[in-house]
């Protein structure tokens, strides 16, 4: 199964891989410059080992025909659903949310893993029904299939991950040429369903949501983080303060500085020019992804490539948007930059999927 065709190797998308590894290197520099004395280096080594695991996954995914992965989607779907459910039983509560389960020395975040399975299931559901056009039955079936895990993720609550899944679905449907009338109807329906969801939520979840929408509801908590992040980014100015001068980050004014807010650390150290480089790298990666999606020869590859690319794009846009104060705060890691094993492994695996599709483009 792991046989690699030499012809396949010729089609490795080096720009895509290059952009990804450039970003990973920036991430490691950032992580290691955060308080060098205080055991952060252990954190860097851990991240490096996660990158290693991610690379293994990437190679495995590359060497497998993605069509087989799509065929295996139902099994993966059941496993993913089981993992999501297990969070409610085995999960550890960290600051009010149950997102992690313990596997030996590691804690795993199943909702992160589920993004990947979500896309595979999407491709499987939308292509296994025959027909030229997107049939209504396939559409409804897809919604039911993906709605259940979506609600589970919301219940954890992991609003960030749930929020990323919505654009993926929307982009896929647009790509498949869903009629605008139907799409509009869906949007209206989901807007109409919001108050219903509001009723289902527990009071503390409602509070949390309100804080998401209006950080100033909780002036002592979230708003402080937003302000500190903005100051950190802004004070980087054009050229940045360098590693040593990044007082905001190093004096720990920033919250979550090695996970969700790592972009602020980067921005303070490297300034606008650094940010420009980073964002261009991300844009390169994402646009290359769209290109692969556009060029894929058969439906499964298209949907997969589009899904993976949209996940990437959505995460990058939402994360940086929230850190720079354009969007409300939700817990979303910056792919390839943020510290965190589940996120890194899943990102690299998704990258592998893109590569795999690209390599089999002409077969």
């Amino acid at each position: 199964m792991l046989r690699l065709d030499r012809r396949l190797l010729q089609n490795v998308d080096w720009p895509l891989l290059g952009a990804a590894f450039f970003i990973i290197c920036l991430s490691l520099v950032c992580l290691s410059s955060l308080n060098p004395g205080r055991g952060i280096s252990a954190l860097v080594w851990r991240q490096v080992s996660w990158i290693g695991i991610g690379l293994v996954c990437l190679i495995v995914v590359v060497s497998v025909d993605y069509r087989n992965l799509v065929r295996a989607a139902p099994i993966l779907y059941v496993i993913g659903l089981g993992l999501l459910l297990s969070v409610f039983v085995l999960g550890r509560t960290v600051s009010g949310a149950r997102r992690w389960i313990h596997l030996g020395p590691f804690t795993v975040q199943p909702s992160e893993l589920f993004k990947f399975i979500f896309i595979l299931t999407l491709a499987w559901a939308l292509t296994s029904v025959r027909g030229e056009r997107l049939s209504r039955a396939a559409l409804v079936g897809t919604f039911v299939l993906l709605g259940v895990p979506f609600l589970l993720v919301v219940r954890q609550p992991d609003l960030g991950t749930a929020l990323v899944l919505v654009p993926v679905l929307a982009a896929t449907l647009v790509g498949l040429g869903i009629r605008m009338r139907v799409l509009g109807g869906l949007v209206l329906a989901s807007v109409a369903a919001m108050p219903l969801g509001w009723l289902v939520l527990k009071p503390y979840q409602r509070d949390r949501l309100l804080v998401y929408l209006d950080p100033f509801r909780d002036p002592l908590g979230t708003a402080y983080n937003v302000i500190q992040a903005k100051i950190a980014i802004g004070s980087g100015q054009l050229l940045g303060k360098g590693v040593g001068g990044a007082t905001q980050s190093r004096l720990s004014f920033l919250p979550e500085r090695h996970t969700d807010f790592i972009f602020a650390v980067f921005a303070e150290m490297w300034g606008f020019l650094g940010c420009l480089v980073l964002i261009v790298a991300y844009a390169l990666l994402v646009l290359r992804g769209f290109e692969i999606a556009a060029g894929a020869q058969e439906p499964r590859g298209r949907i997969l490539a589009l899904g993976v690319t949209t996940v990437f794009a959505a995460q990058v846009l939402i994360n940086i948007g929230m850190v720079t104060g354009l969007l409300p705060i939700v817990g979303i890691p910056l792919p390839l930059m943020s510290y965190g094993g589940s996120s890194m492994v899943v990102s690299l695996t998704a990258l592998g999927l893109l590569l795999s599709i690209r390599m089999r483009q002409f077969h």
Binding site: P219, K230, I231, Q237, I279
Partner: protein, 602 residues
């Protein structure tokens, strides 16, 4: 679109739509760059300045704890502003040297400071309270050296203040910082002050209120420049209790520190007017800082000052139990008021000899006289006539051996032998000698002062057993009611009216001419019963051996208060407990008594 698009057409359409998505995404990236340009280039200078002196501080504003009032609106506790020394972990650049300086300055052991800091994340922005009740002198020292002490602040917090150190200590309870165990419940924040015993604990949810907070900008010296946003704290709710501060004070004064307990209750509704337990613990030293020496001293004290004797200490009732024996006998017909016994001071049963408390005895005694004089010989025989089972049955009917249902925690049940529950547990067969012992309230019988008060209440009001009530209502700061309670009747003792009348009459005689004359007050007819309960452990004779009881109510013809006095190892009930009750009655009916005294002298 075509009805039947060719594959190449479809591919083209797909490509166009993906392109559209890519364009949308690119717009997003450009928006991000725009925002970054704005923040870093246009606003960069200002932001840089802000970061240079990153001086946004967050200060919680503690909510004042709700006040506990007595039934007449007098405060039982109050708040006053107090200085609290706090550390902000995130702002302490060099933790060790700051702590060292602070420790030398205020003479606080570094270990104590570290102890508090270690419980929170090192980058916490919330102040950690390390010492409460800072003196003005210490506050000045800290303010003077502010520059050398980054991350050290002095907060002003409302703190409990008490009328006196031990006033109503058990009833009110102490307030202290939430401990590790309570943190696990997840309802509190580190540093929260919560009620740990008594009413403070019972009503903590209402009393606590909700802390507010403010975001302030400070300059490089750490001095506040401006308050950017302030959220007012939500003060705790006010509690109106059933306690009468005047009576509580009088009761504590009358006890004069003797170990024991006083319970004053309203027999008409079960309101607890006063409840003391001595020795008491110093509330003010347990509130705020954890005074470890004081705490370990209190815990180790053999006199157990932390125990609320009114409901957590169990004693043999002694002669007070004769009320139950008489009630049982009269109601069941095994005793009549006409029964008479010649008391020569001794009673023989088999090989045992039971003595009267009065050597030489009381001579010819009927039931009325036996209650008034507390004649043991009469009751030994009465007990045998009534029978152990009937005594146990009536004891339970009067609420003994069962919790009174008061809202304070840790109430003890007491013990009534021969009750169905006890029967299964006891290993030894019941003997006639046990019945004899039980008839004067000795043996295995155990009661709490609160149970006795409830029982006397039933004698006073004709059989109603009230659930003791401590809280009348809880009013939120905005004036709405958070809690409102009415009196609850839990049980009713059914006795013939003749029996009630006889009991009340006999109990009046106790004070008028019997063992309780020390409680007599001119102008007030008091009905009561003395008790002198032998303690099981007679070893420590130096302390005195008998518990002194006096259980009473007044006015006898229209009972308004029940007063139960219990002095641990105090001696004779009539000599020790009755005068204390008298002093309490004097305070309660002060005006009435004063009028009579004036009338007599004038």
């Amino acid at each position: 679109m075509d009805l039947k698009p060719s594959p190449s057409n479809r591919r083209e359409a797909w490509g166009r739509r993906v392109l559209a998505l890519a364009v949308v995404t690119s717009v997003g990236f450009i928006a991000l760059l725009g925002q970054l340009w704005y923040l870093q280039v246009l606003e960069g200078g200002r932001m840089h300045e802000l970061s240079e002196k990153n001086r946004i501080r967050i200060r919680p504003v503690a909510a004042p704890r709700g006040i506990l009032f007595d039934r007449n609106g007098l405060p039982l506790v109050d708040n006053r502003p107090a200085f609290t020394l706090s550390l902000i972990p995130r702002e302490m650049d060099d933790r060790n040297s700051v702590l060292a300086r602070l420790s030398v300055l205020l003479k606080i052991p570094v270990g104590e400071l570290l102890d508090s800091l270690d419980r929170v994340p090192a980058d916490s922005i919330r102040p950690v309270r390390v010492r409460r009740g800072l003196s003005l002198e210490d506050v000045t020292k800290v303010e003077e050296r502010k520059l050398e002490l980054p991350g050290v602040i002095v907060e002003v917090e409302p703190q409990r203040v008490y009328p006196t150190s031990t006033f109503a200590a058990h009833l009110l309870g102490y307030v202290r910082e939430v401990n590790d165990e309570q943190m696990k419940q997840g309802r509190y924040r580190r540093g929260d002050m919560i009620g740990q015993s008594g009413l403070e604990r019972l009503l903590d949810e209402h009393l606590r209120g909700r802390d507010g907070g403010e975001r302030i900008e400070v300059d490089a010296m750490g001095r506040p420049v401006q308050v950017m946003r302030r959220e007012e704290p939500n003060p705790g709710a006010q509690v109106v209790t059933t306690v009468d501060r005047r009576i509580q004070e009088a009761a504590e004064q009358a006890m004069a520190g003797r170990p024991g307990s006083v319970v004053v209750m309203d027999p008409r509704n079960g309101d607890v007017l006063a409840m003391t337990s001595s020795p008491a613990f110093p509330l003010d030293r347990l509130t705020g800082n954890v005074d470890r020496d004081e705490w370990s001293r209190l815990v180790r004290d053999p006199m157990t000052p932390l125990m609320n004797r009114a409901l957590q200490a169990q004693y043999p009732p002694g002669s007070i139990f004769k009320i139950i024996v008489a009630a049982a006998g009269l109601q069941e017909g095994t005793l009549t008021p006409m029964d008479s016994v010649y008391c020569n001071g001794e009673f023989h049963l088999g090989n045992w000899t039971f003595k009267d408390w009065k050597s030489g005895g009381h001579g010819h005694t009927d039931l009325h006289g036996a209650i008034a004089q507390s004649c043991d010989i009469f009751f030994y025989q009465a007990g045998l006539k009534v029978g152990g089972d009937a005594m146990a049955h009536y004891a339970q009917a009067f609420g003994l051996g069962a919790p009174t249902g008061i809202d304070l925690g840790g109430e003890r049940f007491g013990l009534v032998p021969l009750s169905p529950a006890q029967r299964q547990r006891s290993k030894r067969a019941w003997q006639a000698g046990d019945t004899v012992n039980m008839s004067i309230g000795q043996g295995q019988l155990l009661v709490t002062p609160l149970q006795v008060a409830r029982m006397m209440g039933a004698v006073a009001n004709g059989g109603i057993l009230w659930k003791p009530r401590l809280v009348q209502r809880v009013e939120r700061a905005d004036g709405t009611l958070a809690y409102n309670s009415s009196s609850k009747m839990t049980e009713r003792v059914e006795l013939s009216p003749v029996v009630w009348a006889f009991l009340r009459h006999a109990l009046t005689a106790v004070v008028r001419e019997g063992t309780g004359t020390a409680a007599r007050l001119p102008g007030l007819e008091i009905a009561g019963k003395t008790g002198t309960a032998q303690t099981i452990a007679k070893s420590d004779s130096a302390k005195g051996q008998d518990h002194a009881w006096f259980a009473s109510f007044a006015p006898a013809d229209d009972p308004q208060v029940v007063v139960v006095v219990m002095v641990e190892r105090g001696g004779h009930g009539g000599q020790v407990a009755a005068p204390i009750a008298r002093a309490i009655y004097e305070a309660i009916f002060l005006q009435k008594v004063a009028q009579v005294t004036l009338g007599e002298s004038g």
